[in-house]
């Protein structure tokens, strides 16, 4: 019965009630939208950071995990590559060789990263193959042919590196690499493509070349430094990680000289700063909830106190005809709760709707920068950020407002319960 009374009471002052609800609703919309933006930003961040260089998961030797140098390699088993590719949720596996060497011409040279990849496998793992700005991605080698049968080895250069060296498509470069046996390997390279991946470290200083050619120049035949896995859905990463770990435990390949057992590492371990940053922003969302709702809460508290004050005589009569003080308090509590919950329901609906719209049309990130492109921590973002509308963006604000509602309802309810019937009817309080 007092719920019914509460509803009636709320709408006795329609304008005030609607204003209060609108305030809370606006706060909720803001929070849901901010949550959506943050989610989308973090997702884009992780996807950007893992799209080219790191991948979502990597298999590497223990020694390489501790120290990423050329000597900590492992024997590459195509059987293992196939087994990992077959795991649900894995879209691609690309074994890679990582070298540092001197690349240049008679006039200019630079120390660069050289990444040896299987052109086809790399295409299924990283964005680089589709981020070719000029020319083409590496051609897969005919089986059995020598890596440099044509006299030179095809390479794809990061855009900044190509500029630095002053070379374009079709130009030749010389490569010197200190191999694992100490030998100074040399190779003639031919630029077939220039990539703009959006990953600063790749674009400024990386050379992609055929895996076999990279192995040969560094005396690393049949070996690799890591295998990068592409797991398109970030939510699947943990599950896939467990499966790969199980697979590695059961089929540990003979590793020879190099670096201990193979391990699987997720992007969170490979990019700890990024993982920490995401964790920190998630935590800070709660602080934002609190701030926004404290402000909204003060509004509600004010409304409810006012309305309770106005109805003091009424309360006195209710007490006089025998309504227990407890029920009077419960009625006031329900009023506050109803008032507080209507706002978030409206706000969450609107917020989800807006996130849904942004998930279709995208949010223009370019408005944050004058150059028209936006990049953060070495990762370039797409011009438009696409949200994902999900219920997880809603429960946080709902819980927070419920807490605030209860807190705001307690004060007027308690003061009403303490009323003296006679004095309040007489208006002498």
């Amino acid at each position: 019965m007092f719920i019914k009374l509460a509803v009636r009471n709320i709408f006795r002052q329609k304008r005030r009630t609607l204003l209060s609800i609108a305030g809370v609703a606006a706060a909720t919309v803001t929070l849901v939208w901010t949550h959506g933006l943050l989610d989308a930003f973090m997702l884009a961040m992780v996807q950007g950071a893992t799209a080219v260089d790191v991948g979502q998961l990597q298999v590497r030797s223990q020694a390489y995990d501790e120290k990423t140098n050329i000597f900590n390699h492992f024997e590459l088993s195509s059987e293992l590559v196939e087994k990992i590719s077959a795991i649900d949720g894995v879209a691609g596996v690309s074994p890679r060789v990582h070298l540092y060497g001197l690349v240049g011409t008679e006039r200019r040279s630079q120390v660069t990263r050289i990444i040896g990849v299987d052109p086809e496998r790399e295409r299924s793992v990283s964005r680089v193959a589709s981020a070719i700005e000029l020319g083409d991605w590496l051609l897969p080698r005919a089986p059995g042919s020598e890596p440099s049968a044509m006299g030179s080895v095809q390479v794809v250069l990061g855009r900044g590196l190509a500029q630095q060296l002053g070379v374009g498509i079709g130009d030749e470069l010389v490569l010197f690499v200190q191999g694992v046996d100490g030998s100074l390997g040399n190779e003639l390279l031919k630029v077939v493509g220039i990539a703009r991946t959006g990953n600063t470290s790749i674009d400024r200083g990386a050379v992609f070349m055929d895996l076999a050619a990279a192995q040969s120049v560094a005396a690393l035949e049949g070996r690799a430094h890591e295998m990068t896995l592409h797991v398109p859905r970030l939510d699947d990463v943990d599950e896939v990680e467990d499966q790969v770990a199980g697979l590695l435990a059961s089929s540990q390949p003979n590793n020879g000289k190099g670096g201990g057992p193979l391990l699987v590492r997720s992007w969170k371990q490979l990019l700890p700063q990024l993982a920490q940053m995401i964790e920190a922003s998630k935590q800070s969302m709660w602080l934002i909830y609190l701030l926004v709702y404290v402000i909204a809460g003060i509004g509600i508290l004010n409304t409810q106190r006012m309305s309770a004050l106005e109805r003091r005589r009424e309360f006195g009569i209710l007490l006089a005809i025998g309504v227990p003080a407890r029920q009077l308090g419960a009625m006031l509590m329900s009023e506050t709760l109803l008032l507080t919950m209507m706002g978030p329901v409206v706000g969450a609906t609107l917020g989800l709707l807006s996130n849904y719209l942004f998930s279709i049309h995208g949010f223009n990130m370019a408005m944050f920068s004058s150059s028209g492109s936006f990049s953060y921590l070495g990762v370039a973002f797409e011009e438009r950020l696409f949200f994902e509308a999900s219920l997880s963006q809603v429960w946080g604000p709902m819980v927070a407002i419920a807490v605030v509602g209860v807190l705001c309802g307690v004060v007027p309810a308690l003061s009403a319960m303490r009323l003296d019937a006679v004095r309040s009817i007489a208006g002498r309080t």
Binding site: F71, L102, G104, T105, E106, R107, R108, S109, Q110, V111, S152, E172, V174, L175, F176, Q178, V180, D181, G182, S183, L184, G185, N186, E187, L188
Partner: protein, 254 residues
């Protein structure tokens, strides 16, 4: 008068001076000794064959190479063995430093930042081998007489001049006092010993007596070393200037 006293003083002095000079020869002039040291293995021109043994935690390897120098600016080192790398060469001329890639048949300029990098996987740097820096031009040197194991040595303390592009804060060279044959060089960075180069196996190369074996031991790495042995060394021979060009290099490297 005071004359007798002065006479006595003079007499005493005359007696003292030879006594001092008998005990120790006067130190050579800094310029003379440093000049000598700078030109030790190169002179105005030189040709050498050497073997290099490299031992690191990650690999062992043995190289054979030929080295030509002329004047202060020109040097050419060509790798002859192992076969896989034969023909790889490093050229220094007045214009800069290049590596030659035999497989690609191309030269590539080595950026100056790579000067202190190891040459061909050894502990010797590009600078050590190609003598980009000079003891005369880049360092201030002081001499001091020391004794080690009963042998009289001269210690040359070389500190880099202000603008010299060198990586060490101090280098100590020890040479025998008698005939200036190098014994050991110690390289320091911020008072910490970084590496030691020791010279052994003194051999007659024509009219010069020089240590044939140079062993470089980095201080911070266990059991690592590069040992370089001159198997042939001659000086003041005719070396064509054209050798220190891309074309000249290709001719000898192939």
């Amino acid at each position: 008068m005071n004359q007798p006293r002065i006479l006595i003083c003079c007499l005493l002095l005359c007696l003292l001076v030879p006594a001092v000079s008998f005990a120790q020869d006067p130190l050579p002039s800094v310029d003379e000794l440093v000049q000598h040291f700078d030109q030790l293995y190169r002179s105005s021109s030189s040709y050498a064959k050497m073997r290099m043994q490299i031992s690191t935690a990650d690999y062992q390897r043995e190289l054979e190479l030929e080295l030509w120098t002329k004047g202060e600016d020109n040097a050419l080192a060509v790798l002859r063995a192992p076969a896989k790398e034969a023909g790889t060469a490093t050229l220094r001329s007045a214009d800069g430093l290049w590596n030659y890639a035999p497989k690609a048949d191309r030269l590539m300029r080595i950026p100056s930042g790579m000067l202190s990098e190891g040459w061909m996987g050894s502990h010797f740097s590009n600078d050590d081998l190609m003598s980009e820096s000079s003891w005369v031009e880049d360092y201030d040197t002081q001499l001091e007489r020391v004794e080690e194991g009963g042998e009289g040595l001269i210690r040359m303390t070389a500190t880099p001049k202000k603008d010299a592009a060198v990586v060490y804060t101090k280098v100590l060279h020890f040479v025998t006092a008698k005939d200036w044959i190098p014994v050991r060089s110690e390289y320091y960075d911020d008072d910490a010993l970084v590496r030691t180069l020791s010279y052994t196996g003194v051999t007659d190369f024509g009219d010069r007596k020089l240590p044939a074996v140079l062993e470089l031991v980095p201080a911070d790495k266990n059991n690592e070393y590069t040992r370089m042995e001159y198997t042939w060394l001659e000086f003041e021979l005719e070396v064509d200037d054209a050798l220190f060009t891309a074309r000249g290099l290709r001719k000898v490297a192939k």
